[in-house]
């Protein structure tokens, strides 16, 4: 997994909390910085894809590893 500037552990949280927490964390970050999100909600895979498409923040990576979902989002 590539380098990131900040990490958000959204494990155990259900829809829509992972998205809302990610949005809040991104708000406090600078343009171009990368946020690594860890989630356990299987719905978050499609949700982070849709979040990135609609907000213009780039979803650089989305993968499952050991029962957890990892996302890398670059702030626009």
């Amino acid at each position: 997994m590539a380098d990131f500037d900040q990490e958000l552990d959204a494990s155990g949280l259900n829809c829509p909390l992972p998205i809302l927490r990610a949005k809040k964390t991104l708000n406090a970050m600078a343009s171009g910085q990368i946020l690594h999100i860890v989630a356990t909600d299987p719905g978050s895979v499609k949700d982070f894809d849709a979040f990135a498409k609609q907000t213009g923040n780039e979803l650089m990576e989305s993968k499952e590893d050991g029962g957890k979902f990892h996302f890398l989002i670059k702030k626009s």
Partner: protein
């Protein structure tokens, strides 16, 4: 890109039905939508500072019951005193264990994200509700005010 607008009418005042308006509004706000919720009739319960929302299996055959309770209790059993309170606390525990946010938390997230919360003035008068019992950010308005925003909205939901 022009900002997408979402207008929601929230008409129900039970614990389960409190979720759709607040989940959708908070998520829409996170996606950058301009969002308003118009609370009318029983939906006004969702604006109270101290939420006392409950869930009832009565008249709701679609509600999954824990421990096969629907087999043991006929519909009439659900009318027993304390049954609604018990179902409510079971539902809250279940939600907590599954990492589902509380209604209070989702409502706060809506407020933080500047979702506009509008209470139906007519219902407030109809039920003699005390506006001091409502949270502070609420605006009071009527149908015409709702349409002013809803008419320009891209998505309009009646819940």
């Amino acid at each position: 890109m022009e900002q997408i607008k979402l207008a929601i009418i929230a008409t129900k005042g039970s614990l389960d039905w409190a979720y759709p308006p607040f989940i959708l509004a908070s998520t829409a706000a996170a996606l950058g939508y301009e969002t308003q919720i118009f609370f009318t009739f029983y939906g006004l319960q969702l604006l109270k500072k101290k939420l006392a929302l409950e869930v009832t299996p009565l008249g709701n055959p679609g509600m999954p019951m824990p421990m096969g309770m629907d087999k043991w209790f006929p519909v009439l059993g659900m009318t027993l005193p304390g049954m609604q309170g018990m179902m409510t606390s079971m539902m809250k525990k279940k939600m907590q264990s599954k990492g589902v946010a509380s209604v209070e938390e989702l409502r706060e997230l809506c407020q933080e994200a500047e979702v506009k919360l509008i209470a139906c003035q007519m219902t407030v008068d109809l039920f003699d509700m005390e506006t001091s019992e409502f949270i502070d950010d609420v605006e009071y308005a009527g149908a015409a005010a709702f349409f002013e925003f809803a008419g320009e909205s891209d998505i309009c939901l009646y819940i």
